[in-house]
Amino acid sequence: MDIKNIKSSFPIYKNNPDLVYLDSGATALKPQVVLDKMMEYYTEYSANIHRGNYGLSIRATEEYELARKKVADFLKASDIREISFCKNATEGFNMVAGIWENLLHEGDIIVTTVLEHHSNFVPWQRLASHKKMKFEILKFKEDESLDMDNVDWGRVKILALTQVSNVTGQVLDVQEIIKIAKNKNPNLIVVVDGCQAVAHMMVDVVKMDCDYYIFSGHKLYGPTGVGVVWSRLEHTMVMDPFLVGGGMIGKVGDTETTWAEPPEKYEAGTPPIAEVIGLGSAIDFVSGFDWQEVESYEKYLMEYTKLKLGENPKVKVFCGKNSRSVISFVVEGVHAHDVGEILNRYGVCVRTGHHCTQPLHRALGVAATTRVSFGIYNTKEDVDKLTQGLLEVIKIFNL
């Protein structure tokens, strides 16, 4: 992989030459092509979509729908009606929870895992509470496989799980987990959080056999303000919409309204047009990479990071065996917040806190961790700067 070339594709590095950005798990940096594509919309054809009969609007609609097709192809989805856009993954999870609410009953079970980001945890917890359902949080075994025993799978209606942990970087074998779960109960619905996966591996929603796959565009080198919900066609054709209003209707009578066909049914109001088009461009950018090359480069970077962090006896690492894009750690005797403050002096950007995973941090027995997460632009030299910063932490706190 031509990393030097890759870094030069991201204009933020020209403006911040000393930047050591290790927080792509929070949001990825943006390549110039994505910014140019969004600016092109705003300067050349910034009309609304699906509404006008004039050239600008037609072009905007075509570009928007082309981006939808790109997302469908990116996820290996078989039908573009399965892709709808929202604001971000959090909104997507809330939307799915909202859509299913009326079909769930007291005594049913919602299952999630201890690794989940709050966005794929809190909506289900709230739904379970509203509907007097059982809310179960699965843990992991010593070998890092999901402990699927001791669950009354026959009563499970929803299984919500992440593909990659945003704290430990653990990559779940989602396909296998879904196979096991659906063998036990073919009717359960599986909602997968792809936020930390999409920038790092090929995703095939058909092979995965999930029912919903959700991610945020800004974690795939796209702009903020756009999220993707892939829903299996059998659901989109029959399920009610979540938000209602403009653009998603068929016929609006005085007393009742019919809905548009999917995907418009799930896109009420003016969508984030520029952002969707920008996401399409981000997918073009990422499609230029060889996933196997990406995987092997990330593995190399992760091994190097583990090696450097391991040199410090005061550093305790939280990382899955198969992690390659995310790793978190604590420095004994120093709060993560202080670690982050001092690393910032070296231009090193990391996230500190609980990374929207309070249940996971309770399970790990720590109040806060420092997280390193990679993007396509990171290098061994970035990790060296991180190490240098950590030595300064140790020195200041006299550990």
């Binding site: 709060h335 917040h337 403050e341 001092i342 806190g353 109040a367 806060a368």
Partner: protein, 122 residues
């Protein structure tokens, strides 16, 4: 010497004053910063309109712990009315270090808990 992590801050962080089990006979309160995991619990007893007993426990960054430790030293024995005249600027003066907007919340945490406990006292 480090601008932020000055010796006084590090000393209070490593050996916080008035730290330990809360006095259950006193009024207690707690606050936390959900974004970073700082959490402080405090107990304050008022006698003859003065802060007679003050204890805190919790976990947090060096700034939140040091600030709370320094605050408890400062206000122990202080009259409630004098405490109520204190504001965030006093906390920053007490710490004597430059605080970014991100770290101000850490610095104010103990003060917020104390304010909550003493809110009902006139």
């Amino acid at each position: 010497m480090d601008n932020l992590y000055q010796q006084q801050i590090l000393d209070h962080y490593k050996d916080p004053q008035n730290f330990g089990e809360l006095n259950k006979e006193c009024r207690c309160a707690e606050h936390n910063n959900p974004s970073c995991g700082d959490a402080i619990e405090m107990s304050i007893c008022v006698k003859d309109e003065k802060i007679a007993d003050i204890k805190f426990k919790g976990q947090g960054c060096a700034i939140s712990m040091a600030s709370t430790s320094m605050l408890t030293e400062k206000i122990k024995g202080m009259s409630v009315s004098e405490f109520k005249k204190m504001d965030y600027a006093d906390i920053e003066t007490m710490l004597g270090i430059p605080l970014s907007s991100a770290r101000k919340r850490c610095a104010y945490l103990g003060f917020e808990v104390a304010k909550q406990i003493l809110a009902d006292y006139s």
